[in-house]
Subunit: 373 residues, 4 copies
Amino acid sequence: MSRHDQYREEVAGRANVEDTPELVEYYGDLKRKGAGALWTVANKIEPWEPASSSVPMLWRYRDLRADVLRSLDLVTPEKAGRRVIYLDNPGRSDVAAAVGWIYAGLQVMRPGERASAHRHSASAIRFIMEGSGAYTVVDGHKMTLGANDFVLTPNGTWHEHAVSEDGSECIWQDGLDIPFVNAMEANFYEVHPDLQQAVTHPVNDMTRTWGNPGLKPGGGKWEKGYSPLFKYEWDRTHEALHNLAGVCDGSPHDGILMEYVNPVTNGPVMQTMGASMQMLRPGEKTKAHRHTGSYLYQVCKGSGHSVINGQRFDWNERDIFCVPSWAWHEHANASASEEACLFCLNDLPVMRALGLYREEALAENDGHQPVTV
Amino acid sequence: MSRHDQYREEVAGRANVEDTPELVEYYGDLKRKGAGALWTVANKIEPWEPASSSVPMLWRYRDLRADVLRSLDLVTPEKAGRRVIYLDNPGRSDVAAAVGWIYAGLQVMRPGERASAHRHSASAIRFIMEGSGAYTVVDGHKMTLGANDFVLTPNGTWHEHAVSEDGSECIWQDGLDIPFVNAMEANFYEVHPDLQQAVTHPVNDMTRTWGNPGLKPGGGKWEKGYSPLFKYEWDRTHEALHNLAGVCDGSPHDGILMEYVNPVTNGPVMQTMGASMQMLRPGEKTKAHRHTGSYLYQVCKGSGHSVINGQRFDWNERDIFCVPSWAWHEHANASASEEACLFCLNDLPVMRALGLYREEALAENDGHQPVTV
Amino acid sequence: MSRHDQYREEVAGRANVEDTPELVEYYGDLKRKGAGALWTVANKIEPWEPASSSVPMLWRYRDLRADVLRSLDLVTPEKAGRRVIYLDNPGRSDVAAAVGWIYAGLQVMRPGERASAHRHSASAIRFIMEGSGAYTVVDGHKMTLGANDFVLTPNGTWHEHAVSEDGSECIWQDGLDIPFVNAMEANFYEVHPDLQQAVTHPVNDMTRTWGNPGLKPGGGKWEKGYSPLFKYEWDRTHEALHNLAGVCDGSPHDGILMEYVNPVTNGPVMQTMGASMQMLRPGEKTKAHRHTGSYLYQVCKGSGHSVINGQRFDWNERDIFCVPSWAWHEHANASASEEACLFCLNDLPVMRALGLYREEALAENDGHQPVTV
Amino acid sequence: MSRHDQYREEVAGRANVEDTPELVEYYGDLKRKGAGALWTVANKIEPWEPASSSVPMLWRYRDLRADVLRSLDLVTPEKAGRRVIYLDNPGRSDVAAAVGWIYAGLQVMRPGERASAHRHSASAIRFIMEGSGAYTVVDGHKMTLGANDFVLTPNGTWHEHAVSEDGSECIWQDGLDIPFVNAMEANFYEVHPDLQQAVTHPVNDMTRTWGNPGLKPGGGKWEKGYSPLFKYEWDRTHEALHNLAGVCDGSPHDGILMEYVNPVTNGPVMQTMGASMQMLRPGEKTKAHRHTGSYLYQVCKGSGHSVINGQRFDWNERDIFCVPSWAWHEHANASASEEACLFCLNDLPVMRALGLYREEALAENDGHQPVTV
């Protein structure tokens, strides 16, 4: 017979009820009626602070790249839908998440291939890792893509990915809130009736229309829940990091960081997922802090290491690593002469919209964690 | 050895890859690297539409009331923290939820008892079912409570419940987003350092300050993420239903329904949970619809039945029942002469803030489900 | 020949150029080209602080009431359009304003009369002073009105005023932003094609739908620039003042003051005009402050006096007085046993929306002005 | 004796009361009480549509430039404050406005000169016309400026203009809402206690921080009522026009138009004044429309003409012309090979914030006005 008093705590204001035969019978009776006694689970469901079920980990690109490419020969796009190797956090295997409620995968496509168009309530991003000729079509808007470009395929939009005939094999990171939308029991999926959608606007029109700083098109309206700037180009983003670095000291925890935003609201690019790009200047070593929310980093440039909950992870370009909710973390650039850049996908928009964001700086040891692993 | 091809679908645009020895070996290799092949899980994690893990069900008050009262003798407040019988949906036992990510319980308190003060990142509501003399203190504001009054104890506020010496045994429904905030790995909990907080404002001051229709106190500012109107009194709410009934036809799906709102924003009372009160007029029988989000109803007045995904649930005053996400549902008042009123606690604020709300009316059979159970 | 150096100031950073024959010729030359030299007008158009062109004044109801009633016999509604005596501030006669850019008039109507329907870009309010049976129709919504009820006829809405057959002669105060909208060169006027509009909704439906504190109708949307709560009833407003008085000390400058608000935004009732109701408790005497914006008060209840820029104005029920922009003002209730209530119409929404609001408390003399007149 | 019936109209719903001896006596009596009969002025103050008091006109730069330069010798900065020739619309001389409530002037400064720092409730813009080395300091932020750069000095900010020692004589257009803020009786003026302010931030820091499309600085907050992007550079703006021209057809009335916006809100750069830059493509001739609000154009590039209320105005680079409220207007580029660009300063933010904006396209004659002058 299972115990009901394994969560007892000897603290005023917390539950501390020992099992007795009478109580156990009472619990059984409640169970039959679809009920339970709160004091048997209160301390479990009201923890003192978050303890993430996600495991801090790093996926090396040099380990996974060959597997990704191998999928080109193992399965056809027609059979597989998309050839994607997803990141499977051991603590989140049940929901196929890389960290928290965020799904991520590495997708590969050959020149001339074009995925079938579909749409779903989950929101997605695509971050280009290698290859030329990649493009994405979102609700009739075609965007051409190069390395480190960041593109959105928001909740409810028809979208498809492709590589042009004159391109090369392309690999990119997909990021989706599929686990979250499933958890919210709100996921819908549709295949496009024609399997492919028409390109109905000039190429890159959204970037040219909405990507002009401090300017908006006359009479232009955009009231959807996501950014009209579907594509965020690397050159502009990289330039922005240097613009900012020239006029401020940056954050002790994140160096020089820019958040990707919806230019119409200055808020997150989509309602459920946000992203940022940060630069660790040559020799920069940040201090530790922790915050709620789940974070998935990709190294865009340079090499270095991060310490996450006391564990050190060394990283190189294209490696991916995760920081679970409320995990201490700090970053260090390994080079004294070259910058390092980290792309970060996260669920901050959810945490902020719902009043659940909280952060804390590490006070001890000059802000640095002892490295235990 | 487990199969990897159990989710295959013979539909263009969906994954349909059969296991082969080579693939199975490949899958094993990926597993060891913390990765997987998307096509083995794609159809599972991208369902065509939501299928809730919550079971539609009804908790009869006449079944549970005696158990609730019995807890008065079985445990002390000091040991139990609070004497609460929680609703344990068989599909959500792992997270102690009544439906979706919503926790609910029936709490009982004797005259003269006062719970210890605490605060947490989870948000809570309290809906009074029976007894006199109940009151709640939120951040120094004391509110007196009667049957069908609805009170908030939002995310981060110090709060405590009590019954005055001259009151009677009180029972109320608690509702919290504990399962959700835990799922988001953002729950923090603190016991008040003094175990009890001082009442620092006149009794019911927030209702008297913010509960005047079309008026706000001069110079009054409120910028927190929740309603300053901590208490919503039944008399006013009931009157509002009749006001509205006198000037409109109401909704075919919900009769006369008022949403409880933050008077400063006209938005939800809290960022993660919303609530409404609806009246089914004498003889009223609504048509079926379904929407995303999780809903927990309490019958405040009258009797009738609801049909949820084809299953009929008959209800009486104080019964509680749930409607899982995307479940068809319709309601009927059993009386031709008396109104019936339903209080509903839900996670609509989350669904709306994140762009995940969707609804659909039943087109067939004049909007009524065939009753199968 | 006119001088150009009459605004000289001997202060560093201010213009201080003396006329010379060469300069005067230069000024004449500029004039012919549609230009001028800024330094000849700079100190005039950039004053150190506002000096209102409006004169503080009080209109006694016992002086004007007979004139208002006399208009019933002097002109017909057909010829006059409306029988209104407007308040003509000597400093603002050129724009027919009572104070600043606010127009106000006293309108009278006989039982059974109904004005022709029209609409305009100017926004209007109506505040009932005496009589029974008054009603207003706004875009098909009919509202019944009694003394001290406050009703809106916003920018662009079809509206008409009337008194029912079984009513009595009614007098009310009109308030409009006509002078402001004219100054902005944005006024349009239309007479209803049928001269009268149909009542298309249940009587008082907007109040019954939107006037329920902390509740909104399910699915109810309102996105117009003005309050859907067209009518603010005196009973509720009066009750609200007492609610607030019971739980706070009020403002040292205004006693117990409630702002009328749009319940959907908690902002002003209309985009260009706001209003408030305040109560001076028995014996209450407020301290002086001043702020930008123009204010027109009507005494709803009681008697007392106000000191405006050092001038004392004694008032009784139904008197109207104005406080120009940046004028010092303080109020006193004459009674030690009865409350006094002041309705105030103002352009605060304009001042706030455009970042032009500023206020200052009088520091000297314990906050009281020396009375000079 | 003055007549009181000069505004009579023979239209149902309009005032139409003829003077009689009795009425005239009544009017005199009212006058003595600070009142009047509405029907004597109603038709005057409630016009059928706006008739602007501003005169459409054009100021030729080749006419004014010599006068502007001459001021360098005629007055010292110490005596004049600033050497500015202001545009004096004959219909608005009483308030020193170029059009509506907008003030504009041409300011000149020698290398090495620096104006004294001040601040006021009026908001200002500066648009560079010629010369090198100009810069502006706003609240400690220094911005370097070149031709066609647009810079803000918002309501309440300390600001000063200067030209560096190694620059050349600079001329720019000032634009302020002084007449409007005076009309609202809300203007305050202060000279900086030190006459000059310190530069406390890196040069051009606001542009580098906030001028990155689709990106915001991590943790960056800006809640003031105006844009943090104080400077809008011509190169970026010009590039934006071409970006937009490449992907859309533009407006039939305005060609390719971009509004300058606050990147934090996507709203206007300041609460009381807005601005736009538009490009008329080679050979482009727009169709006429009219809208409420006042508009002041400067020709940044190219030549052409505009037709305003039937009057043709030919323009060349640096000419300035105005379009009064509700005046029909259309523009034409004179060149078949070169683009023309128009900068426009306006009070659209006021019109929009207050619900007073209205527009209409000319339906007749294929959208073109007959030219009468």
